[in-house]
């Protein structure tokens, strides 16, 4: 994680060695991230991983037990939320029900004693950015979920915060609206060039919107990198498993040939994986992984062509629309999931068929070495 430590003076938010405990539970454990000016950074992880607590500490609703938080180079630990120049979009929007859209949006401006005309102009500007022109005098109760979401965004962004914190903002919307709002959020972020810190447990959302993703588990960042990096070169088995379906098997290394390791199963089947970065020798156990969409599935036998090859039996075929998913019991001793585009060819393979799985060397990854390597 070499990019964890960028220059803190240029960081919009710098979180340094922050720990937060709730009684016996350590919610966030010695966490450090520098969030760059203008970037879209996602904190991704399962519930209870500390992502929301991290965000709430940046906003000022929780105070860290240890460590520092800097906003544009200024220490903010101990500063109340109203004195921090970040704004938050709450999960259920938290719009003020007794105020109309205009009053909601200008709430922060009023507190900063912005004049009436300036307020009206800024509210109008914001409403056009979130595409809600003409809704000034509606009450939150009269708006749909998506519209409320836009008002919440406008209410936070109108204050021109150093960073906007979004706490699972799309969680309450239905799937179609969620996809639409993902694009909208990205557009708005691009238009205003504001730093967005986004909390979600939805890996698809994280992959499609973020400049960088911090995958969190049990209070620590397991991997910080670009979506492609996190998806294709996961740093740990947890990351690999959480960011997409993962096939993993624990196998013994039979030979190391320069930058590639061969893990032989029997005279026909073997896995070939890049060996760089690992201390491998013949006989060591390694956890090798491959993504479902990287595997080619063939009925009957097929050639490995220098890559990996596993034989197996199809246990189940699941039609997913664009994709067809095959669950294959492999010679590696694990059931592998294979994704194939639903073309006419994929119809030919049925449950109980004998198949061969093949994939190129670079699509294998060794995630852990050693006898204790258990699959994620």
């Amino acid at each position: 994680m070499s990019d964890t430590m960028s220059d803190p003076t240029t960081a919009a938010i710098s979180i340094r060695g922050v720990t937060k405990r709730f009684g016996e539970v350590t919610a966030v454990d010695d966490l450090s991230i520098d969030i760059r000016e203008g970037e879209f950074l996602t904190l991704l992880g399962p519930s209870g991983c500390g992502k929301t607590t991290t965000m709430r500490m940046v906003a000022g609703f929780e105070e860290p037990d240890e460590g520092d938080i800097l906003l544009r180079g200024e220490e903010v630990v101990g500063v109340p939320p109203n004195k921090r120049h970040v704004n938050m979009c709450f999960q259920n929007y938290a719009l003020f029900p007794h105020m109309d859209v205009q009053q909601n949006i200008e709430y922060g401006l009023k507190l900063r004693k912005v004049g009436k005309e300036d307020r009206a102009r800024k509210v109008e500007e914001m409403l056009s950015i979130v595409r809600l022109e003409g809704y000034e005098h509606r009450r939150p109760g009269q708006l749909s979920g998506g519209q409320q979401q836009r008002v919440a965004l406008a209410r936070a962004l109108v204050n021109e915060p150093a960073a906007l914190l979004l706490d699972e903002p799309l969680g309450a919307l239905d799937v179609k609206l969620r996809k639409q709002m993902q694009l909208e959020l990205k557009r708005i972020q691009h238009e205003l060039a504001t730093t967005f810190v986004y909390v979600t447990h939805d890996q698809e959302e994280a992959l499609s919107m973020s400049d960088r993703i911090a995958v969190m588990n049990e209070g620590v960042v397991e991997h910080l990198g670009s979506p492609r990096d996190v998806y294709e070169r996961p740093a740990t088995p947890f990351v690999a498993d959480f960011v997409g379906v993962l096939n993993a098997a624990e196998l013994a290394v039979t030979s190391v040939d320069g930058d590639r390791a061969v893990l032989t199963i029997n005279d026909k089947d073997h896995v070939v994986a890049p060996a760089t970065g690992h201390d491998l020798a013949a006989g060591t156990m390694a956890l090798v992984t491959v993504r479902p969409e990287r595997i080619a599935i063939t009925r009957g036998a097929a050639e490995a062509n220098g890559g990996s090859r596993l034989s197996g039996t199809v246990a189940q075929v699941v039609y997913l629309g664009t994709l067809t998913q095959f669950h294959v019991e492999t010679s590696a001793g694990k059931t592998f999931v294979v994704h194939q585009l639903s073309t006419e060819g994929s119809e030919a393979i049925d449950a109980r068929d004998d198949v061969t799985l093949t994939w190129p060397v670079e699509d294998s990854a060794i995630l852990r070495v050693g006898a204790d390597a258990t699959s994620p």
């Binding site: 929301t52 000022g60 939320p81 970040v86 704004n87 709450f90 259920n92 029900p97 900063r112």
Partner: protein, 285 residues
């Protein structure tokens, strides 16, 4: 029809229900009837319709002065009890602190302490400290018994105001005091009105504590009770009771209806159930 109850069972329930209704409301109906009976003896036969008992009490200075004392005591009681209940309810709903169960028990205890015990102990206390009895000492006694009700009216409303609204306000630059003034208080108003009205009716009706603490300026219930010794006053006492009854019913029904309507509105506007609010407060993730 509920299949879990037999026809015979339904019939029994029906009879019990109407028995209860008659038992509860027949005395009130009789009271209203006799307040218009043209006789100094409060019993049948009916001697004709009159409104003279109503005229009589309006021209009774002692009665009017007792009414005035009661209005003063009830108004002060409601203001003080409601004001004290606001921070109490906020602490119970929003804060986590040591021995919260014990503290809430102490705050709500006057609900179950017999009024006679409360009245006597306050009387002894005031005597010991040397505070002369007056309508104001009665106010103190009434605040003690009205405050639990005021708190209990406010707690559910406060639980329905998402804590995230207050956090959003802080986040947008408001201090804690500004947040209370602009967010919490306006959303709490319906419950404040209910708490005020309930405290008012509790104080206005109260006889036991008043009789111990009010001194020589009788409140209205104390005055009514003393008048019962004079049989010829009874019909006009009944007339007054009817007026009070009607006014009380109107106030209570109006306040409960108002609370119900605004509750529904808040729910529709925030679109949030109470457990969402809980998970927000716990700061999930």
């Amino acid at each position: 029809m509920n299949p879990a109850i037999s026809t015979g069972g339904r019939r029994t329930l029906w009879v019990v229900f109407w028995f209860l209704v008659v038992f509860l409301y027949a005395p009130i109906v009789i009271l209203i009837i006799f307040s218009f009976n043209n006789s100094e003896i409060v019993s049948f036969p009916w001697l004709g319709f009159t409104t003279r008992w109503y005229h009589e009490f309006v021209h009774e200075p002692a009665l009017l002065s007792a009414l005035k004392t009661s209005l003063l005591v009830a108004t002060l009681t409601s203001i003080v009890a409601t004001s004290l209940a606001i921070p109490a309810a906020i602490a119970l709903v929003r804060r986590r602190f040591f021995a919260k169960g014990f503290v809430s028990g102490v705050m709500l205890a006057p609900l179950v302490i017999p009024l006679v015990v409360l009245g006597i102990s306050l009387l002894i206390l005031f005597n010991a400290v040397g505070v002369p009895l007056s309508p104001y000492t009665a106010v103190i006694g009434h605040v003690v018994i009205a405050m639990p009700f005021a708190i209990l009216v406010m707690v559910p409303r406060l639980e329905r105001i998402p804590a995230a609204l207050e956090e959003a306000s802080r986040d947008l630059g408001a201090t804690a005091a500004q947040t209370f003034r602009m967010i919490t208080f306006p959303l709490l108003v319906p419950a404040l009105i209910s708490a005020f009205l309930i405290s008012f009716t509790i104080s206005f009706d109260e006889l036991v504590i008043s009789s111990f603490l009010v001194g020589d300026q009788a409140t209205f219930p104390v005055y009514l009770y003393s008048q019962l010794r004079l049989p010829e006053r009874l019909p006009s006492v009944i007339a007054v009771a009817v007026v009070i009854l009607v006014v009380s019913v109107i106030i209570v029904v109006a306040s409960e209806a108002g609370r119900f309507i605004s509750e529904r509105r808040l729910e529709a506007q925030t679109g949030m159930a109470a457990d969402d609010i809980g998970s927000l407060r716990a700061g999930k993730g």
